[in-house]
């Protein structure tokens, strides 16, 4: 295998691992917060349904967290195995947040173990809820630290290269690079948003499939409400991300928006196709891009004409951007309609077709996460470390990457199917009606 092939297969394997891991990682970051909120609402309202909601979510969460942990370990090691030259440099400059992440993970793991095995152990439910706080903090901070590393790849700083040697290294400046604030906020908030919509999809699905229990209705209302709040936050942060890109990574923004020529009053191009360098059939929002980039309809936005051809990312990222944004908007609208609708007593938001839309929102949210990460990673091409190291110079020289790719593809297939089978069996075998009944019997209230 020549080294070009090693580079190619290394990229494919990394893409595959990240695409698979990110599903479980996103759920892993978002769901603990949802469990915490449900349990808190349950304690405050003294409503058993919310407590049970937290408990059942926690059960499902263990399965996703297990797959998240092992695939996270896989990507952690693959970084060194597939991109040894990059990791040698990264180890010198950006190892600090990576190291911090292991502590966040440690913290989360310890308290997750305790939380799972102390249900009903405390008289005071609040004490038990308190144990979940470190889990949620640990999960979110794992995302924060890892995203700092990813932000560094987009906007490296905190070191100088003199005659090929790294000098003046400052790990703190490397951590707090310009890409960090928007990227970290975007990743964490969209994880909350996605978790809320995935859980809403499950509740809607149960309601469609025969159960009309108030438990599912409460779950649906709570998650849609949370999803709405987080989708508004996401839109705000998305706007800041646009401004960050315009300032620090204009080529990424320009490629994502098909903005070829530097100009003032730049419109925002949505959808469309490219033929012979011309954009056709696109929706144009006048002044849209200038607004997104600089909050000023007249502002000048740098186009792709300012960059050498071999430093422009692939133009298909435009569609990834569109998919991400459309789904985000759509979910914000859907959840807003649902929330207002329920409060106003609109019948339509409780109809079957509306619930099917909510069910569809679960997979759509996951697709948006995937599209977002692909946009982030492909949009940085050809660089692994912007303006410092190209992807092809970072890859391994090992000759067996293709074989490893096949093995890992098989592994992810097994884990993906396994986790779906286990999760669906777990909840089908123990439906909520049954569990509520069992719990009443246990409490010894009505023994006939």
């Amino acid at each position: 295998m020549g080294n070009e092939e090693a580079v190619f297969y290394s990229r494919v394997l990394t893409e595959l691992t990240l695409s698979f891991h990110i599903i479980y990682a996103t759920i892993g970051v978002g769901v603990p917060l949802m469990i915490m909120i449900a349990q808190w609402v349950g304690i405050r309202k003294n409503d058993e349904h919310y407590i049970l909601l937290a408990r059942r979510w926690a059960r499902g969460f263990v399965i996703t967290v297990a797959v998240g942990v092992v695939t996270g370990t896989a990507i952690g090691l693959q970084l060194s195995l597939l991109w040894p030259n990059f990791m040698e440099l990264a180890g010198n400059v950006i190892a600090l947040p990576l190291f911090m992440e292991t502590f966040a993970f440690f913290f989360e793991a310890i308290f997750l173990g305790i939380y799972l095995y102390t249900w009903d152990r405390f008289e005071n439910q609040k004490k038990h809820l308190l144990l979940l706080v470190p889990v949620a903090i640990g999960a979110s901070f794992s995302a924060v630290f890892i995203t700092m590393v990813n932000a560094f790849m987009n906007a490296p700083q905190g070191f100088d290269i003199v005659n090929g040697e790294l000098v003046n290294i400052n790990p703190i400046i490397a951590m707090f690079n310009p890409a960090m604030p928007t990227k970290v906020a975007h990743v964490v908030i969209t994880a909350y948003m996605t978790a809320a919509f995935v859980l809403a999809a499950i509740a809607a699905f149960r309601l469609l499939k025969g159960s009309n229990h108030i438990y599912h209705k409460k779950a649906l209302y709570l998650t849609m409400k949370l999803g709405f709040v987080f989708s508004i936050a996401t839109a705000l942060i998305g706007d800041f991300s646009g401004k960050y890109l315009a300032e620090y990574q204009p080529e990424k923004l320009a490629a994502a928006e098909w903005h070829f020529e530097t100009q003032e009053n730049a419109p925002l191009v949505l959808l469309g196709v490219l033929s012979d360098g011309e954009v056709k059939y696109a929706l144009e929002i006048p002044f849209g891009l200038s607004m997104l980039a600089h909050n000023n309809p007249k502002a000048e936005v740098i186009g792709l004409d300012q960059f050498p051809a071999d430093e422009i990312p692939p133009l298909y990222i435009h569609y990834l951007f569109n998919i991400m944004v459309f789904i985000g908007m759509w979910m914000a609208i859907l959840s807003a309609l649902y929330w207002f609708g329920i409060n106003r007593g609109w019948k339509r938001v409780s109809s079957r077709w509306f619930r099917w839309l909510i069910v569809l929102g679960g997979p759509l949210s996951i697709i948006a996460i995937e599209a977002g990460w692909w946009l982030a990673e492909v949009g940085r091409q050809p660089w692994i470390l912007r303006h410092i190291m190209r992807v092809e110079d970072a890859a391994t020289t090992s000759g067996q990457v293709d074989l490893m790719l096949m093995l890992f593809a098989l592994l992810y297939l097994i884990l993906g199917i396994g986790s779906i089978v286990v999760l669906s069996r777990m909840f089908r075998k123990n439906p909520v009606e049954q569990e509520l009944e069992d719990r009443h019997m246990e409490k010894g209230g009505d023994l006939h």
Partner: protein
Amino acid sequence: MNLEIIGITVLWSFLFGYIVIGAIDFGAGFFNAYSLLTGKERILTKVIQRYLSPVWEVTNVFLVFFFVGIIGFFPKTAFYYGTTLLVPVSIGVILFAIRGSYYAFETYGSRGHKGYSFMYGLAGLLLPASLSIVLTISEGGFIEMVDGHPVLDYWVLFTSPLTWSIVVLSISATLYISAVFLTWYANKAGDVSATDLLRKYGLIWSLPTIITAGGIIFELRRHNFEHYSNIQTFWLLFLISFLMFIGTVWLLWKRRNYGWAFGLLAGQFAFAFFGYGASHYPYLLYPHLTLYDSFTNPAMAISLIIVFILGLCLLIPSLVLLLRLFLFNKDYVRGKDNFHV
């Protein structure tokens, strides 16, 4: 003490932690699967699952800590080990993934599912074997530099008796450590039949463990004489380790003080592991890489150490809480309460 030594001592300690608690974990998974196969699950499964359940994820973190830490403190290892270990470590990762997820599938999804139990039992047993290859490679003689890139010679690796002795040691030590720990745990749980069975396993696996461990030192004489002679200078550590081994076996044999037996076992492995590590000094990879030429810059080293100390302040109380609630809580160990989600 310089920064390099501090760094490697921290990492080596965490690796030691992983080896001990990982061995308990993997061995327990294997005994569990084996008991299903031989129809002894009534004796073993309960006590094993009671121990494993709340701690499995914590075990994994020790490994993550080690490999993230080594890239942080010794970034050049990414280049040497990253390039050469693609196949063995990828196989290790796959086993690790199967072990971790199928454990969760069985424990939280379908209790008592035989297929899942076999999957994770077997994966857990092969995992130490695949990871132990890293230690073998670090002895040198398996990596050649071709055009400035390190290349692993698989033929030499897999025909070397050293490789296979280390593989056998990793498997038998896993089962030995796990059996001795679980003997203690079962005894604390007041489970007589499980204690007896695990004690027997402990005694059975003590022999191959000590024989291969001795054999490896002997084989190093041929494979890496420099390391072999360094080991001689640390003879005292290895002697203490051996005496502790005798102590563990004697206590097991006499059926008493299982807690002490496990304590001595931990000591035995600690002395051997740190003796081995110290005699490996200063090489991370014979003869290409030493602690000193792979070490990171002082700014990064100091910030990592500060984060490490802060992290420990957070972790140690949490770990103590975890151990107090589960490992050292009589009611939990004896199965009197069950508060599983």
